[in-house]
Symmetry: C2
Subunit: 404 residues, 2 copies
């Protein structure tokens, strides 16, 4: 096992909030002395997951704890999912059945075990202990926090101040999440920065129940392909971990150099020393940034597919783009589109890559148009007008369109 | 059974809030048609009761419903009492044991059955159904109201605005009280005006669960002997229903004429027509107000003791006060006393009834001092410096002392 200081160096890599180093030192020291791994907790939504790289920032951090020999508890928060949306107001949150939960858990495992070691991962469900709580227990739990404190939580605060309704049961959820830490006797809980309040609840509740408070570690929300907004499905700026190798590869090749180093820090298995070395070589002109990007793209494809798929994807990319002299700087344009989709010949015209939609149709017929590295063969094709896409017409005309 | 209109006339006597007359008409009409009594609900605290006349305003209203043939449910809210104060912050609210609850219930019954018909009163405990709720049910319940709506409740609002803490479980209590109405299928719930918010919760919850909403009726908080502040133990301006006949009688004789009519409306079994007739006779000079007060004092003593005790109390009062020419108007003085008690000779001096404490001691030795109609025999006697008391020295020197 690594020393306390070595462990902390890896643990705090990329982290935003860290409460507190002293507590972690104490826990790690005892762990080394007693040869007992720490209990690491991270909670996940029980709805059907379709993970993108943004989600894997946290999972990568769990992997670090596994590499250090600690016990990772992958907590599926099925308790509230089994209730559904109790307000009955949301069509999108009908109660899950226990079968749904089981099925979703399997989907999760398939995806996260591309990063985590299945042998060292405990998948747990909070309905196990929360379902046992009585109405008395619930009241006792609710007594452990004040209304004012709860309204300090950023999202509650905004909703309260703008007079958007907050149901009282929503105040119970952070307490329930905190209680999970008590039930699990968690030593460390990970969450996104947007989860800080809830994750700190665990510390408070453990303390009030005579447990040693967990260490709280939050990871940043990963920026999407645009380098600005957080990666999300609805913004279209994401890389899904189940996308085909070419797509993952191509999307990573499309990000800026700055964002590339950010992805390295948060997603790569390279050590920080190795990443710094790469950066220095680029700065000294000994290495082209594109080569560094290729290395990251291959690592990601290898992680979610295989090493062979990574080699193939690289070859394919070089064929489609590189040999056709993709410029280092690609022009970006913003397009305001009110419809959900846009017809490709119109898109080419609006982007200034062709003179007219008939010109655009002709280019498609000549197999000269590709979008995000995939050839367009249908003159009637339309694409969703969300996020950003890379257009190519002929051998040299590139344009990145950002829909706004 | 009386007609709907006759019933409503009695029901709304003295009431403050009434939601809604239309609903009550519907319920009473159906009750008459089906010959099925309405289910009347009133909730009481499970802590040991020591009732004063203020509490009996509500119980008198329950009596009206009994007289009209409806079913009175005397609800003892033991559920939260069995939890105690879950914050653990209050020394004064340790959890009650089921034995405590049973014992307190007996004390309640002894007292309220002086007004209510034991045969027609169902004593129920909300732990019966609330103890069965699961953590899921609790969350569902909490989802039925918003934080903003809860903060409209007067006491919460004041505490929130002045930054005094409100624990989240306190938000659950009104919901729990509302759920009681659902579980009891209550047709009418009574409460003090300070309970309006909670009592209306029952209407909302019944509606959201497909029940016909209960009618809500609030009764005023009875003014105490001073005619200004609400009757309460801590202000000392109360008439306890377990006080001796002389004390109840004497205290009622001490109230103002205005307050006397208020007490008639809220406490007496006389009909409003009879009360109006008394008032008119007094106004016409056909009846002395003192005689009307004697009648009320006797009714109250008879209610809480017996008719014989009422006659005795009247005789005693006439002997002690009336024959000694108690003036119609007794001087009132305010006394600021920092100690909890005051030595009677000093009190007499401060009230200006004697020249010195030794003078006061001498009057006591001569059996010439009485307080609230009771002779003082001990020169070392002290009285609590709260509320107001009637002092008498010799045959004609009277003074009402109000401690401030």
């Amino acid at each position: 096992m690594k020393s306390v200081e070595e462990q902390i160096a890896l643990i705090e890599r990329g982290a935003v909030d860290f409460h507190s180093r002293e507590d972690l030192v104490k826990k790690l020291t005892r762990s080394l002395e007693t040869n007992k791994p720490l209990t690491i907790k991270a909670g996940f939504d029980p709805t059907a997951p379709d993970l993108h790289l943004g989600h894997t920032v946290l999972i990568q951090k769990l992997r670090h704890f596994q590499l250090l020999g600690h016990e990772v508890n992958f907590l599926i928060g099925d308790f509230t999912g089994l209730i559904g949306d109790p307000t009955g107001k949301s069509d999108t949150r009908p109660p899950l059945t226990p079968d749904d939960v089981k099925r979703n858990a399997e989907t999760y495992k398939e995806q996260v075990f591309k990063i985590l070691d299945p042998e060292k991962t405990k998948v747990v469900f909070n309905s196990t202990w929360l379902g046992q709580l009585s109405s008395h227990d619930m009241i006792r739990l609710a007594s452990e926090l004040t209304v004012a404190r709860m309204l300090e939580r950023d999202d509650f605060k905004k909703r309260f101040e703008s007079n958007r309704p907050i149901s009282i049961h929503e105040f119970l959820y952070p307490l329930i999440q905190g209680y999970d830490s008590v039930a699990m006797k968690a030593d460390v809980e990970l969450g996104g920065t947007d989860q800080l309040f809830n994750v700190l609840m665990g510390r408070d509740l453990q303390r009030s129940r005579g447990q040693e408070p967990q260490v709280v570690l939050t990871m940043p929300l990963l920026e999407g392909l645009d380098g600005v907004n957080k990666m999300s499905k609805s913004l279209g700026n994401y890389i899904g971990i189940s996308e085909p190798p070419e797509s993952i590869f191509g999307k990573i090749m499309s990000i800026s150099d700055d964002l590339m180093y950010r992805y390295y820090e948060l997603l790569s298995d390279l050590s920080m020393a190795e990443i710094v070395a790469l950066k220095e070589k680029v700065a000294a002109g000994q290495l082209h940034p594109k080569a560094v990007k290729v290395q990251l793209a291959k690592e990601m494809v290898a992680r979610f597919h295989s090493q062979a798929a990574a080699e193939d994807a690289e070859r394919n990319f070089e064929q489609v783009f590189a040999r056709h002299e993709m410029p280092d700087e690609i022009e970006e344009i913003q397009l305001a589109v009110t419809e959900a989709e846009i017809w490709v010949p119109k898109l080419l015209m609006d982007a200034g890559l062709v003179k007219s939609t008939s010109d655009g149709r002709r280019m498609i017929q000549q197999h000269a148009v590709s979008i995000d590295g995939v050839k367009v063969e249908d003159i009637n094709a339309a694409v969703p007008a969300t996020g950003s896409i890379l257009l190519k017409v002929g051998k040299r005309r590139f344009c990145r369109v950002i829909f706004s």
